[in-house]
């Protein structure tokens, strides 16, 4: 399981346990976990995540392959949910394993930057005032220029 797109909840701790047990020869593992957070005005009721089935798996697979190619990694996984999530629920996670810490850190950072702007997910916030699509940030697109 290198890329997993699902509407089911998952425990990031269980993912890290399984990942750390299978990446033999690693000296460093970095994980990033994204959590549904109230980014509007304190009354987030739910986050709905739409995606493009088929393209999503392909895009995440491509992003992972780029990371494996660009950094000295032993393994990398990407997990991303879609559907309706409550505040505080885990949206997504990446984990990278490498001989050295710099590769593990940079690869996780790279995966996140690409995933933000190149994986076909769209978030909608449900609040007391209604439903609003989350706008993409220029800074997320700009972040790709770091690589």
């Amino acid at each position: 399981m290198s890329v997993d797109v699902s509407d089911r909840a998952f425990d990031p701790g269980a993912v890290l346990s399984a990942f750390s047990q299978r990446v033999d020869g690693s000296g460093a593992i970095v994980t990033f976990t994204g959590i549904t957070r109230d980014v509007s005005e304190g009354d987030l009721q739910a986050m709905e995540i739409e995606h493009y089935p088929g393209m999503t798996e392909k895009a995440l697979g491509d992003i992972r392959a780029q990371a494996m190619d660009r950094f000295r990694l032993i393994d990398a996984v990407i997990i991303h949910r879609y559907g309706r999530l409550s505040p505080g629920e885990t949206i997504m996670m990446v984990a990278t394993a490498a001989p050295h810490r710099r590769d593990a850190f940079e690869a996780a950072d790279f995966l996140m930057d690409y995933l933000k702007s190149r994986a076909p997910f769209w978030k909608r916030e449900i609040t007391a005032r209604g439903a609003d699509w989350v706008a993409a940030k220029d800074e997320d697109e700009d972040a790709l220029n770091r690589w």
Binding site: G34, E50, Y52, G54, M55, K58, A59, H80, I91, M92, M112, L115, K116, S117, R118, A119, P120, F121, W122, K123, R124, W133, V134, A135, A136, D140, E141
Partner: protein, 81 residues
């Protein structure tokens, strides 16, 4: 050709999927054809800076060819992660 819409583009057009006959050669040409279909289409595509396109599930610029494509998708900038 299968056309797919996501997020607010899907909402504005009123469907996530439609099949169109087109002689368009590029994504940009196809957008012009789609805008002619209805007021909702014209409104949805009024600001193309806010729209991204994928041909056969690959993100492409608007001048990309759609020759031989099975599926073209339109959507706002992605907000994953």
């Amino acid at each position: 050709m299968d056309i797919r819409y996501f997020a607010w583009l899907r909402e504005r057009i009123g469907t996530g999927h439609e099949t169109v006959e087109t002689r368009a050669e590029t994504v940009a040409d196809l957008i012009e054809d789609l805008k002619a279909l209805s007021d909702a289409h014209a409104f949805a595509f009024s600001d193309t800076n806010a729209i991204r396109a994928a041909v056969d599930q690959e993100l492409v610029p608007f001048d990309a060819s759609i020759a031989g494509a099975k599926e073209v998708a339109f959507f706002p900038p992605m907000t994953g992660g």
